[in-house]
């Protein structure tokens, strides 16, 4: 291959977001041969390859699939459309002019001049270093996702006596997985007074196996020098500070950390796209276009999702928008994040994706996704156009671990006399 090529659309990442974006772009008039997926791993499917548990695809396929099965459905569609992809191809940089520089064993260093770019790099796990837990650096401390890869793909058990810090979904899933493989999971400790994972995972992964979940608790010491020998867990007060005198010692050889996911946006920053301080993902408009014209984002690189079904939906939206951009169908916007209607997150809503809407470019119905910052019971999700409340929907429970959404109609956003749409949580 020549080390300089040109493509209408380059998609960075061949996981669920990248695959769904590619399929949507090809199905919306972009010739498949003008698309290129760059994937750094040795196979398509991304993180789904190690998510062997069931529960994927209920929305998309109306059946309950495992991660690899869900990925295979999209892989088949991408392959049936003959969308080109490169495996083992690591993208090093993206310039604001959309020149993608990458490296692979097969091609060496190469550049792709792209008409449009879709960012679909996913996210990574917050690590021990970000937590400042005192103690030595013994073997046996793993992020939950690393343990998941070791057990499900490499066929290794990282330990036998396990404590898990953080009740994110991967931690809960791994509590069950390690239990099934014969390990003893002593406890899951969660700093917050609520779990960060889906309710169904608490039922299926902890309750089913009698694994205790200790809310408002954290690990305050890791014991052991060469290998973990135990951890100390303490209760925390309402400021999340450990309460002296509540220390409990757990003997264990392994500590799994499931303490949050961070969108992986080094490439995004390099391209010059501004990031949101709340999501750590790029700020985007109604087309999921970042601050750099022609660079779009979707999936966990944009904001961390709990359901892959929503990733696929969102990625399809980015794929359609990118196809339209390449074909010149979008109104030329030199600055994708200026003008338009501002979407404001208020009163318990931490953020919205997108955060800016240009009504002329939006689809007939636009899905606005968001998360709340705490537990809300019997509350309402409200949408305001200017000062006027236009949506008011009751929700029995809302929690930070579960993404919410509202739908906005294009027809309602024509000839308007307001410039702000507010999404908020209200008690009544």
């Amino acid at each position: 291959m020549e080390n300089k090529i040109t493509k209408s659309l380059v998609i960075i990442g061949g996981g669920p977001a990248g695959l769904a974006a590619a399929v949507a772009a090809a199905e919306n008039g972009l010739p498949a041969e003008d698309i290129l997926i760059l994937e750094r791993d040795g196979r398509l499917g991304g993180i789904l390859n190690q998510c062997i548990h069931n529960g994927f695809g209920l929305h998309t396929f109306k059946e309950e699939l495992t991660g690899p099965e869900y990925a295979a459905r999209f892989e088949e569609r991408a392959k049936a459309l003959h969308i080109p992809y490169k495996l083992g191809a690591m993208v090093l940089s993206i310039s604001p002019e959309k020149v993608v520089t990458a490296v692979s064993r097969e091609d060496g260093l190469f550049t792709v001049e792209a008409g449009a770019v879709i960012l679909a790099m996913g996210c990574r796990e917050r690590s021990r270093g970000a937590l400042n837990i005192p103690g030595f650096r013994p073997a046996g401390v793993f992020s939950a996702g690393t343990a998941q890869r070791l057990v499900n793909m490499e066929g290794y058990m990282p330990g036998r006596e396990v404590v898990i810090l953080g009740s994110g979904d991967i931690g809960l899933i791994m509590a069950r997985r390690m239990t099934l493989e014969g390990a003893k999971v002593h406890v899951v400790a969660e700093l917050q007074p609520y779990s960060g994972g889906l309710k169904r995972n608490i039922v299926q992964c902890l309750d089913d196996f009698g694994i205790p979940l200790k809310l408002s608790h954290t690990v305050t010491e890791i014991h052991g020098k060469d290998r973990v020998t135990g951890v100390t867990i303490s209760a925390v007060d309402d400021k999340l500070k450990p309460i002296p005198g509540t220390e409990e010692y757990y003997s264990c050889d392994t500590l799994l950390l499931s303490v949050g996911l961070i969108p992986e946006n080094e490439l995004t920053l390099g391209a010059g796209a501004p990031l949101s301080r709340v999501t750590n993902g790029p700020v985007v408009n109604e087309s999921l276009e970042t601050g750099v014209p022609g660079i779009f984002a979707c999936g966990n690189v944009l904001h961390v999702h709990d359901l892959v079904d929503y990733v696929s939906e969102e990625a399809a939206q980015a794929g359609r928008a990118a196809a339209k951009y390449v074909q010149g169908g979008s109104k030329e916007t030199a600055e994708p994040l200026s003008g338009g209607i501002k979407l404001e997150a208020k009163g318990g809503v931490r953020y919205t994706v997108p955060s800016i809407i240009h009504p002329e470019n939006m689809p007939d119905t636009l899905t606005v996704r968001f998360r709340v910052g705490g537990i809300y019971k019997n509350s309402f999700i409200s949408v305001y156009f200017g000062d006027q409340r236009v949506q008011h929907r009751k929700k029995t429970v809302m929690a930070p671990g579960e993404m919410e959404q509202v739908l906005l109609k294009k027809a309602d956003l024509q000839n308007i006399d307001f410039d702000t749409v507010t999404v908020t949580v209200e008690a009544e």
């Binding site: 062997i52 069931n54 690899p68 295979a72 099934l180 309710k199 169904r200 608490i202 709990d306």
Partner: protein
């Protein structure tokens, strides 16, 4: 009459279900937002079941293990017996999604099938 509460696990909504039971018979289900919730509640009270997912060692494959699942859910009480059978099983590459790995696992009438592909290594 007895009431049991639990959380529906059919989908991520996680509806809080309340079931009233009389003489082992379900009298009412409340809290569900769809039909599946009602079916789940009845099943959870009378015959709880789960899908088991794990991995099986692959011979001659690209990878050491391949993902497997029970084709449908199996009685909750058989989960660990099913895991024993899965851990004793081996499969030879190439393996494709849907290939039967264990037939009628632990007498449940349910097959354990591959849920990922692995080619000859």
């Amino acid at each position: 009459m007895e009431t049991k509460s639990f959380i529906c696990i059919n989908c991520p909504l996680g509806c809080p279900l309340t079931v009233t039971v009389e003489n082992g018979e379900v009298k009412s289900v409340t809290g569900n937002t769809c039909k599946r919730g009602e079916l789940y509640a009845v099943k959870e009270v009378t015959a709880p079941a789960r899908t088991v997912t794990s991995t099986v060692r692959v011979l001659n494959g690209e990878r050491p293990v391949v993902a497997v699942r029970t084709k449908t859910d199996i009685p909750k009480g058989k989960i660990f017996d099913c895991m024993k059978a899965i851990n004793a099983a081996e499969i030879t590459a190439p393996v494709h999604i849907g290939d039967i790995v264990i037939e009628n696992v632990c007498g449940t009438g349910v097959n354990v099938v591959a849920s990922a592909d692995d080619e000859l290594g």
